[in-house]
């Protein structure tokens, strides 16, 4: 995982840059507009954070309650400690029901598990049905955003891809491309034996799973095949239908700038006696795979996350480099916190530093996760575990020592301010700095005016 190495490449990618611009307009402005519909937005947001904290504080009891109520409705509940366990369980369910074709609606947990590859290796046909995920499956690429997975691709690229993979005339109109995908995918919906979905929430009170979708593929996946498997993280449990209602006021507004998604589907158990449709078998897989590592410590607040994507939409770093630069399933600020926890800080490289700590992610988060604070804690851990480059470690130690010796600090900064001033050109700008080219390679650095803040403050106090 080399965030820094990927950044240069992404910044130079003209197509990517044009694709990313649209995201800011639609999702950022959309959220700002939609939250004004809620006259008591801040009260609702406080309640949403409290709702997430409520189940996290007694997570085991809520999970147990969910399981009991789900089983009472004929749902088979599985528990997976690792990503490999998820893949094994889905393969076993497929074998048990003689499944040959699997259709999927969007699920980030299954991206974590690389479930598609595991099922294909087991000889199953797997078809992604969310338009974005379908495009990515054809292109054999990972998603670059948790809500808009194909945000990095332009319409032209999709036109080329469909023409090649569908062996059909090249269409350029977006509605025509959408219809082409609809017509290609409908036969798969009708012939699949198993539908795999995620779950935005699971509800302890009723033993239900809930998904929000716009395309309707989620409804088809959970209605038509004879087996439905919903896979989700253990942190997604909420207490009651009332609690999930509050979260549903915020998730679409923050995710896509919609007051509500087109479909909210709550599924409880398998087809009942007399029901005219629905799957005959319903399985739920509750996944740990690193989540419990976040519990009980400074990082627990991260588990409030409802995967809306607002933090990445509002992040100046994400806006500049897109999701693939982050190297794993979850990009943006939430990814920079989750990835080090799930895959290990030593494997996450620069991610805790892939933020300017401007605070926009915290402001935009519907469940008030203090993301900048969590990133700062991860940076501290990196330092404590000696995962920083040696020169950074020494520089930080030297600075720490200097800052503790007031007279020396004062002298050094005074010297520095004067030196930098003398390095300025006649516009007051520094064109290059030895050993600190990062500040001057792409632009000129404005030179300090010559005196330190403390000097100016002392002078101002005297004149008083």
């Amino acid at each position: 995982m080399h965030f820094k190495a990927r950044v240069g490449e992404k910044l130079a990618d003209v197509k990517l840059q044009s694709a990313l611009k649209k995201l800011q307009g639609n999702f950022v402005k959309g959220r700002a507009d939609r939250i004004t519909e809620l006259d008591n937005f801040h009260e609702i947001r406080d309640a949403a954070a409290a709702i997430r904290d409520r189940t996290l504080a007694n997570l085991d009891v809520y999970l147990d309650t969910f399981e009991r109520n789900a089983k009472a409705r004929g749902t088979v509940v599985h528990w997976a400690e690792t990503h490999d366990d998820v893949n094994r369980i889905v393969r076993e369910i497929a074998a048990q029901h003689g499944v040959r074709k699997v259709i999927k609606s969007k699920s980030m947990v299954t991206e974590e598990c690389a479930l598609n590859d595991a099922l294909i290796d087991a000889g199953l046909e797997v078809v992604e049905t969310d338009l974005g995920e379908y495009i990515l499956q054809l292109a054999q690429e990972p998603p670059s955003h948790i809500v808009a997975p194909v945000v990095h691709k332009t319409r032209d690229e999709v036109s080329d891809l469909f023409a090649e993979k569908h062996n059909a005339p090249r269409l350029t109109d977006i509605p025509a491309l959408c219809r082409e995908a609809r017509e290609k995918l409908r036969p798969h919906f009708l012939s699949a034996d198993m539908g795999v979905s995620g779950a935005n929430f699971v509800i302890a009170e009723t033993g239900s799973t809930l998904i929000v979708t716009n395309e309707g593929n989620g409804r088809l996946v959970t209605t038509l095949p004879k087996v439905h498997v919903a896979i989700t993280g253990i942190e997604k449990v909420v207490a009651t239908l009332e609690d999930v209602t509050t979260l549903l006021r915020l998730l679409p507004r923050h995710g896509t700038g919609q007051s509500i998604t087109n479909y909210i589907s709550v599924t409880t158990g398998a087809r009942r006696e007399g029901d005219s449709d629905g799957p005959e078998h319903f399985h739920v897989i509750l996944v740990d795979a690193g989540r419990t590592k976040l519990l009980g410590g400074d990082m627990q607040e991260m588990l409030r996350c409802i995967r809306c994507g607002a933090c990445m939409n509002h992040c100046p770093v994400y806006q500049s480099v897109g999701g693939h630069a982050y190297g794993w399933v979850y990009p943006g600020p939430m990814g920079s916190v989750l990835t080090p926890t799930y895959v290990g800080l030593q494997n996450a490289g620069d991610l805790p530093n892939a933020a300017t700590l401007c605070g926009q992610c915290h402001v935009a988060c519907p469940v008030k996760i203090p993301l900048p604070e969590l990133l700062r804690k991860l940076r501290e851990q990196q330092f404590e575990l000696k995962l920083k480059p040696w020169f950074e470690m020494y520089a930080l130690r030297a600075w720490g020592w200097l800052a503790q010796h007031s007279w020396l600090y004062s002298m050094t900064t005074r010297l520095q301010a004067r030196l930098l001033k003398s390095a300025a050109d006649d516009r007051g700008m520094i064109r290059s700095l030895p050993f600190a080219g990062g500040w001057t390679d792409r632009r000129d650095l404005p030179a300090p005016e010559g005196r330190t803040f403390r000097e100016l403050y002392r002078a101002a106090s005297k004149n008083g």
Binding site: E205, G216, T245, I260, T261, N262, T267, T268, S276, G278
Partner: protein, 215 residues
């Protein structure tokens, strides 16, 4: 130890609790669920029908008033003619006995299949806050009718328009008592914005949703 036991034990250990939950913890959770209190809700105009209509139109759902259920076939015929859509449809069994043939329509009361182009349904209730239809699956309320056809026509009684989702749960607990296999909230025609964030109607579900309001 099973995966379940391991995960539950890990949760409790991480949170500094004894491995087995105390009765007090379980009672607290059970009591909260039994009470299922509501959180703060946004303001919704007192005129629920006007609010529903306004929000539904915003979602590109079309809305029309009719005097009674008996007028449904004529209203459907008008709509299909106006939109130049086929005159054949499937409907929920409850509406099968209406005089469809009298309006030149061929309507069958059965779940929809792939080739059906128009689906006619009722709704369990509707939400004024967002202009949303709530559908509960069951013997006589197949989910496919509002999903597979390209056109979805729904009949909604104005008396079943409630302010928000919380009120819908109150109705569900009172009228049905238990969660149906599927509860689907529908807010306009299916759509996608996956390609260049350009909103396009008719992704995998209906291209158009038409609501007929009866008193």
């Amino acid at each position: 130890m099973s995966a379940r036991a391991n995960i539950l034990a890990r949760i409790r250990t991480r949170q500094g609790k004894a491995v087995t939950p105390r009765a007090a913890e379980q009672d607290k959770v059970a009591q909260f669920i039994a009470e299922h209190p509501q959180s703060p809700r946004p303001y919704v105009d007192a005129d629920l029908v006007a609010r529903f209509r306004d929000r539904a139109l915003n979602l590109t759902t079309s809305v029309e008033d009719i005097a009674s259920l008996q007028d449904l076939p004529a209203a459907v015929a008008r709509y299909l003619t106006e939109k130049q859509l086929p005159k054949t449809a499937v409907c929920w069994p409850d509406y099968a006995m209406l005089d469809w043939a009298g309006q030149g329509l061929q309507v069958e009361g059965r779940p929809a299949c792939d080739t059906d182009l128009v689906g006619i349904t009722g709704a369990f209730c509707a939400l004024a806050e967002t202009g949303t239809l709530m559908m509960c699956s069951g013997r006589d309320t197949p989910a496919t009718t509002s999903l597979l056809p390209e056109t979805h026509i729904a009949v909604v009684s104005k008396s079943r328009i409630v302010a928000g989702m919380e009120d819908a749960w109150v109705l569900l607990r009172r009228d049905i008592g238990t969660m149906p296999r599927a509860v689907n909230f529908i807010s306009g025609p299916s759509r996608t914005a996956d390609i260049e964030q350009t909103v396009t109607l008719g992704a995998h579900g209906p291209y158009r949703v038409h609501v007929l309001l009866i008193p």
